[in-house]
Structure formats: structure tokens, C-alpha cells
Symmetry: C2
């Protein structure tokens, strides 16, 4: 395991063989250093001055990030989102504003057209709101159109959302989304693989899409035309073994051809948040992060749920001291793990499967 | 094979065991008569007067149909639509106004909501027009909404369409579709299993739906809500081994839930007439009727198509004396049989498969 400084330094080795570096990190040797990883991964000898240069850049980036309240989370760290770590090409470092623990709750990406119609915006916003209200975190890219409608829908429902940027997390693009970006960071998280201060560059966005899908159990595509960038995200999701789902629409405008093509290729049809949750329940993927390390019997929420009894969120709130939002997020996670079951009237029961 | 009079008489044996009657007819014994079929099919002895009563009703119905220019086509007749004959429960007699030979061309049903939105109407009309222009006959039920939009779309494109009624073919329902019904009969065909003069009754319509699908290679459902009658037609189509296809739409209105449910269950997504034609090309079903009896080399159209050469509709029209509409219908049929291939620029070539 590298130190944070060495991990950040390594992430600045732009000419380095990324996949070989990851291979080294994944082999999990103890006492790895910047030098040992570079030596093991480099195809040709590297200049002796390279580690020093990378460390100086890392120190400067970490110092300025610290001043801006931006955290750097290296691959392998306990705070690194558990769903993102195993993708073929995860970022070596994530720069984050907000709460990294947001990814403890089940995550669903909603992506789509930047030039969406009123229909696409409303569909994205409604799905995001309903998913967030059910306890999911909604992941998107802060872009114009569907992305921002998804973030706004989740926030309006009092839920949490995550924005993955193609620039540093302190550089808002498009500029008019400054307020939205702040709101996302207050309750959720804004993240990027690009160091603070990095300008948005065209080639950052397709690369960014693999992070959106990699953070998510499912990717829902809304209003994607034939050559939409959202189809790149859907492609990444397939490669990463995540569920791909699509919202259908009007056939006369041609604005949904990408979504309909995904459906033809096997993507599930999404009409409501319930469709997404049903897909997650039937999927073999389990929610992320620390929750993956098995919900312990000592979990204060689980220990309140006696088999055979049903509970509403309000009474569980009184017993655990958790807010309704926190409870719904935990309950959805436990539901997807098969430990809790949702029954009629918004009540929850301990499910057959024990842990 | 029964005489026409006996077949019509048999179709009026309303208390009779329909499926047993069909079994008798299907066994194809020569010299069948009304009496022999009744004797073989009846579960209990029938009154001696029954055949006489049925024949009198048949004679009266045939006489009045004759005055109205309505043909009666019995099951087993050469003019009986070839796709309809093998369904589990085909009508014993079809009453027809117009050209029974219309079903020689490939047939596609378009059905959907009676209370369709502007979107549903436009989608139905556009698909019908494009299918008709490509040489297909569009089958529907003359109902308000999607059905009538489909008939009108086909007619506006200069194509042919078939209306299957839940009343006698001389009783127009809904009444405001009188002009449309006339227009359908002029170039295409209006048909029913109910004798002329029969009023539309609620229970006729679900039964009518099996004829719409039975006449068609594929059924396209447009704007069907959760409990739409069009889903009955789709169910009949599945039972009859016909392709079921659905047009997606807006998820916010709930007006397309039936279509989206069909897509979830495996119905093909339809965005354009080309999607329907592609489904027909890949289907094992072959176009109907006399065309099924193998296009002979002596066919005047086929004998104009020399292997290796490509032809446009205009030059084929000069050589065969057929109209563009007749040619397109024949060419689409031959295309679906694999004998002709459509190439760029609206030209046609003789395909590899010979006959």
C-alpha cells in the first residue's frame, strides 16, 4: 500500500503504463513505494529524477487541495468507492469534495442528452427524485440537460447525489452550474480523477464516463440519440458488469434512437424508479463499500429489526437516532443484500437470509 | 370440401362445437355435406330439421349479400386468406367487400388505443404509410384512434389496407367512419366473420382481434395502456406464431405501459417501417396466399428479372404492365420469400435463392 503522497505522485506519471501500474498495486505487495512501482511497471528505464519531480507536484497539489477542502482518496484506501475499485481502469486517485461515505448507499447513474427536451428533463428529474427518496444516491456528470436534471431531482427529493467532473472539482463546467455543484457537495459528493485546478478538456469527458458507470450498480440512459456520449457510459457499464437500463420515448423525433437501440440490445426498459430497484434486486451485484463487508449483527439498525416484526421509518428513527434519509439509504442497501424486505405500507421486515 | 351454401349454413350453427367442426373440415374428406359434418361433430343428436333451418338462413344471407355486393368466402376456398386458414379457430366464412386478393401482398396489422394522443395517431399513420408504400397491406379494426389513423395513413400513401369489423361489413361502427370504410373497400378490403346486417356487439370485438392478427405476418401495437384491448390482439398473434412488435413512447403519461410491457416480454421495438420489414425478413413466416404456392418461373415479373441485373420499378412497370403499387406489393412478397433483394436507390435484383 502506497502512502497518499506516493499515490498522488504516481497518478501524475502521465506517460506511465497505467495498466501495469494498476497490476502492481493490485498484487498488494506490502511496503510499495513510488520508486518500486515505477521500476516494476516501466517498460524502459526512467530518469532518476522522475520520482522527485512527481513527489514535488503531488506535494503542491495536495497542499492546494487541502486549502480548498478537497480530499484525495487513493486506490486501495478504505474510503475509495468499493464499486469503482475493481473496474479495469480505475483512477489511481479520486479528488473529492463532500462526503466520500455517500457511496455506502446503493448508487444509480442517470445520464443522457445535454440538449434534452422537456420530456427528457422531467423523466430524469422524476426518476432521480424517486430513486433518491427510496434511499439510492444518484450519480451523474453535472452536464447540461439530463445530468443536471438528475442531480436537481435527487436534491429536490431531499436525497443525495454525486457529480463526476471532467475537470478539477474546483473548476465548474458548464459555468452556470456553480450553484448546483455547491448543492451537490453539501449533502453528497463532487469528484474527479483530475487534480484541482484542471480545466475541462474534451478528452476528459469520455474517460470520465467510465467513472460514472464504475461508481454505480446500474446506469439509466435518458433521451440518447444515435451517437450520444451517454452510449459510451452504457458501453463502460456493460464492460464493468453493471446493469444498463434505458428510458423509451417518442419515435418521431429521433431523439431516443440511442435508448431504443440499447433496449433492442437487451437493456431493461425503465418507466419508473421501481423498475430500476427491481433490476437491482434481481442483479447479482451488491451495493458497495463498507456495506459489502457484511452487515454485522451488531449493526444498530439490524439489531432493532426483530424477525417476524415490521417497522416503519419513523419508529426506526426513534430507536437508532438516524435521520429518515440515512435510514432509507441503509434500508435500501440491506434490502439489496437480501437482509431486509420492504412490505406494504412503507414498512420493513428482517428477511429470511441472515448474516 | 363443402359447397358455399353448406359452409355458410354451417357458420350459422351457433350452438355447434366449432373446434370439432373445424377438425372435420380440416381432415379434408371429399363429398362433405352440411349433414355429414354436423353428424360427425355433434356431441348429442341434433334435430332433423336443423340442416334445413341453417340452409334457409344461409340462402337468405347469401341473397342479401349478393344484392349488396358482398362476397362470402368459406374456409378452404382458394380466396380464403392463406395466413388466416391455419390459426386455431379461423372463421368458417369471411364476408368481404373489396378485393380478397389484397392478402396476396405481405400484411402487417397496426392496432392501438381508441383514445390515442396526437403522437400515437401520427406514429400509426406514418408507419402505415411507409409500410403501404413499401408494398405491404395494413390490417386494422376501423376503430377510433390508432386503427383509423393506420387505415388513413396507408390510403394517403396510395397503398392498400384491410379493415376487420366486429359487425357485418355493411354496418359501419363507429358511424363516423363511413367514408373511411368506403375508401378502404375501394382499393383494399373490408371483412367480417359476422353476416351482413349484424350489429356491433361488445363480445364481437375481442373475437375479431384474432382475425386481425391471423391475417397478418406481424402485429404492431401503438400506444397501448396497461389494459388495452390491443394486448388481446398481441396475445392472439403470439398464439398464432406471428411477430409482435411495439412502438415505445413517453413514460410519464402511462399511456404506453402496455407497449413497454410487450417490449419487456420480447416484442421488437418499432421506430420505423424499416424495423417492421427487417423483422419480417428475419422471420420464418412467409407471405400469404397464392404467393405461397411458389412463385413460378413463368411469373411475368420474375421472368423480367435476370440474375445479376438491377431494375427500378418504372422499367419493370413498362415490361410487365403492372402499376407501381402492384409491383411494390409483389416485389415485397418476393423479397420476403428470399427470391428478390432490394438494393440501393430503390432498385431490385434477383436473389441467390431460385425456385
Amino acid at each position: 500500500m502506497l502512502t497518499l503522497d506516493d499515490a498522488v505522485a504516481l497518478s501524475f506519471w502521465y506517460g506511465g503504463p497505467r495498466l501495469k501500474v494498476l497490476e502492481r498495486l493490485r498484487c498488494g505487495e506490502p511496503d510499495q513505494t513510488l520508486e518500486s512501482v515505477i521500476d516494476a511497471a516501466a517498460d524502459t528505464p526512467t530518469p532518476a529524477a522522475l520520482p522527485g519531480q512527481l513527489r514535488r507536484r503531488a506535494a503542491s497539489a495536495l497542499a492546494s487541495a487541502g486549502r480548498l477542502g478537497i480530499a484525495a482518496v487513493p486506490w486501495g484506501d478504505a474510503s475509495y468507492p468499493a464499486l469503482l475499485a475493481p473496474i479495469p481502469d480505475p483512477p489511481l486517485v479520486l479528488w473529492m469534495r463532500g462526503d466520500a461515505a455517500a457511496f455506502d448507499q446503493p448508487s444509480v447513474a442517470i445520464v443522457g442528452s445535454r440538449a434534452a427536451t422537456a420530456y427528457g428533463l422531467e423523466a430524469a428529474s422524476r426518476l432521480a427524485g424517486d430513486l433518491a427518496a427510496a434511499g439510492a444516491i444518484v450519480v451523474s456528470g453535472l452536464a447540461r440537460g439530463v445530468d443536471s436534471a438528475a442531480h436537481r431531482g435527487a436534491l429536490a427529493a431531499g436525497g443525495r447525489t454525486a457529480a463526476v467532473l471532467g475537470s478539477g472539482v474546483d473548476v465548474v463546467y458548464p459555468p452556470e452550474h456553480g450553484g448546483l455543484c455547491e448543492a451537490v457537495a453539501v449533502s453528497g459528493v463532487v469528484l474527479s480523477e483530475w487534480r484541482p485546478g484542471t480545466a475541462p478538456r474534451a478528452f476528459h469527458f469520455p474517460a470520465r464516463n467510465r467513472i460514472i458507470s464504475g461508481l454505480s450498480l446500474a446506469v439509466v440512459v435518458v433521451e440518447a440519440a444515435e451517437k450520444s456520449g451517454s452510449l459510451i457510459t452504457a458501453g463502460c457499464a456493460l464492460e464493468q458488469g453493471r446493469a444498463v437500463m434505458a428510458v423509451p420515448g417518442n419515435i418521431l423525433s429521433g431523439r431516443h434512437r440511442g435508448c431504443h437501440a440499447l433496449i433492442r440490445d437487451g437493456a431493461a426498459v425503465v418507466e419508473s424508479a421501481e423498475d430500476v430497484l427491481a433490476e437491482l434486486r434481481s442483479s447479482s451485484l451488491r451495493p458497495a463499500a463498507r456495506m459489502d463487508q457484511a452487515p454485522a449483527l451488531s449493526d444498530p439498525l439490524l439489531s432493532c429489526l426483530h424477525p417476524g416484526e415490521s417497522y416503519d421509518v419513523e419508529s426506526l428513527g426513534r430507536e437508532t437516532g438516524l435521520t429518515a434519509g440515512q435510514l432509507l439509504a441503509k434500508l435500501l442497501g440491506l434490502e439489496l443484500q437480501g437482509v431486509v424486505r420492504r412490505v406494504d405500507g412503507g414498512r420493513f421486515v428482517r428477511a429470511g437470509r441472515t448474516c
